[in-house]
Symmetry: C2
Subunit: 172 residues, 2 copies
């Protein structure tokens, strides 16, 4: 990219430099959801269309976008900007969880943990659940199981075992 | 395969013919679980190691093998040998559900519906749930959601939406 800009598009390079400078100085973390935002409170947190009684905790801004694409969730979000990962030196302190704790203390709500189902994501979910339940918050976790359209023959044994363990009563 | 047997392995062809003849005349449906079996009651149904209080309903014998591979389920099975599929002319009659109804009447137990999460599999699960709940049977369905090791960024919107809707309270 550097060669292309220098050889063919020096004006573009200056434009990119200015945009990066602007972004670096103007983009903050939203005070409520910790996501990137140009304002102190981001548009999503400021919106009155969103349900204040649910708070979905995700790892990264990209996960928030995925959740928004489902169009089935109308609550608010909290973006961790990472996950617990002791091997990478990321512990509870580095995630600044006090912001999340303050958020649920000020606006008590159901917290939906939507961290990934990886080892780190699961560990983060368990840590958060312990932390928030001690504050008297109702905490739930998104479901684990077979994907929509999935056939038993095509899933791995671990997922099928989880799906059986986490089976739910049929409501007709 | 036909050319190979005729040209190079006529003894093998005869052996295959006899095996097929034997299988056709000797392999029945197990009276309890409807799976293929050489005996009236198959080994799995006759086993005293299996938990009689759970009955897992699957579509095909291959699904039963998948469930066994998870090594997390120690109950019994019922194999539908198909699924409701009106377009293919397979209705409730063709599945011989009276055998399943008799089975749960004689040995009341929790029924776990492990049909696929396809349109036909889901329709079959709903039909069975209505049928069995009317008999006073406790019916559950295997979980739908994110696969083990799954990340939010990698799943389709439908599965993520289901995972949020079917979220469960965290128990610490």
């Amino acid at each position: 990219m550097a060669y292309h800009l220098l050889q063919r598009d020096r004006a573009g390079a200056l434009h990119l430099a200015k945009s990066l400078e602007l972004a670096t100085s103007h983009i903050l973390h939203c005070e409520q959801c910790n996501n990137f935002s140009e304002y102190e409170i981001c548009e999503l947190c400021a919106s009155e269309q969103r349900d204040d009684s649910m708070l979905c905790v995700v790892e990264m801004p990209a996960d928030l976008l995925m959740m928004e694409q489902t169009q089935c969730y109308r609550g608010k979000y909290y973006v961790l900007m990472g996950r617990l990962s002791p091997l990478d030196g990321i512990g509870a302190k580095e995630l600044h969880l006090e912001r999340l704790q303050k958020r649920v203390q000020e606006h008590p709500c159901e917290v939906i943990l939507a961290t990934n189902f990886t080892v780190e994501g699961d560990a983060t979910a368990h840590y958060l659940a312990t932390l928030l339940q001690a504050q008297g918050i109702r905490v739930s976790r998104i479901a684990r199981g077979l994907p929509v359209g999935g056939e038993l023959e095509q899933v791995d044994a671990g997922t099928l075992a989880q799906a059986v363990m986490e089976r739910r009563e049929m409501a007709i």
